[in-house]
Symmetry: C2
Subunit: 197 residues, 2 copies
């Protein structure tokens, strides 16, 4: 599992107070984003972490960078889950379970947080987008070879559709709806090949 530790070894390592502040910021951001959504004030995060705004912005040059950092460990978990599922019994079941987990993840991060999975090249940190796509592509291609997933389906599209579910249900009140929508997408995934138009 790739982890983002690409640090130029010619430079001396980070000062410990800097590392500490970074961790504190990250932990605080996790909390605040969970409370107030991805639009939460970055000043507020800095304040609650007990550092100045300048410090926050040196560690994370913008909101996206901070969001990406907060999401990173969850993403890595998803990537690892894909690895585990890849050796499970049923290829279809593996894909299904992973997509369920992915949807849950995207929703927990308030939908919009996961928007950066979709947006621009992902500013900083390790490449979340790539990791997710790799995980999805692996499971999907196995389900296409060994399972019943339709072969004209691309991983990009599948992920995008699930992200869409997360986004559009982020503020909804029907707690069951995301599951229903995902079930529908899964039906399409394992359904017969597209009807001739």
């Amino acid at each position: 599992m790739p982890t983002a530790q690409g640090q130029d070894p010619t430079r001396r390592p980070r000062r410990t107070d800097a590392r500490l502040n970074r961790e504190r910021l990250l932990a605080t951001a996790r909390e605040v984003f969970a409370e107030a959504g991805p639009e939460a004030s970055l000043n507020e995060i800095a304040r609650r972490a007990g550092v100045g705004p300048g410090t926050l912005y040196r560690h994370f040059p913008n909101r996206s960078a901070l969001l990406a950092a907060v999401l990173t460990d969850r993403i890595e978990t998803l990537y690892a889950l894909a690895g585990t599922l890849a050796s499970s019994e049923s290829a279809d079941e593996a894909l299904t379970q992973w997509l369920r987990a992915f949807l849950a993840h995207a929703r927990i991060n308030q939908g919009l947080g996961s928007a950066l999975l979709v947006e621009e090249p992902v500013p900083l940190g390790l490449d979340c987008h790539r990791l997710i796509m790799d995980a999805a592509a692996g499971l999907l291609s196995r389900a296409q070879r060994q399972g019943t997933a339709r072969t004209d389906l691309a991983a990009d599209d599948l992920v995008q559709l699930v992200v869409g579910i997360a986004l559009s249900t982020a503020r909804g009140h029907d707690a069951e709806q995301p599951d229903r929508l995902l079930a529908l997408v899964l039906d399409a995934t394992y359904g017969r090949p597209p009807r001739s138009r």
Copy 2:
């Protein structure tokens, strides 16, 4: 077709300069939102319309109200389209065409604009959400009775899924993707009933 003209007749009609300003603001907002997305600065809109910010805010108390107003005529068009399609040959084809039009609409308004279709009770103007749902529900139920649409599908879910496509592809670069995703959803809509799990 319901149109939002609910004006208390005991009050004298709006002054003409007010009506003119409102129209100018609306036209400018349409442009600016199209250029810069639904996050565009309202000050900028006021400036370009040649009025003060105060004027904008009296006509439209907040961003949502302005967005809703901009979307209104498009929504009414969609509602009217549903009426037209309702008497067409194939129930399935009618639903399909309407969903295509709806997706195009949601995307033109930058995805996020259509977020207010999903969010809170829709602040002002006529009830966009209700109108859309009515249109979708009518076409879907006919496709379920006379066509091949699966009967365990609710209009809410179908609309939500399409909104999700619009949202998640709003900033994407693959121009074909929205169509592919919609095709997938349509396959599910007309597909066999859900497999026994």
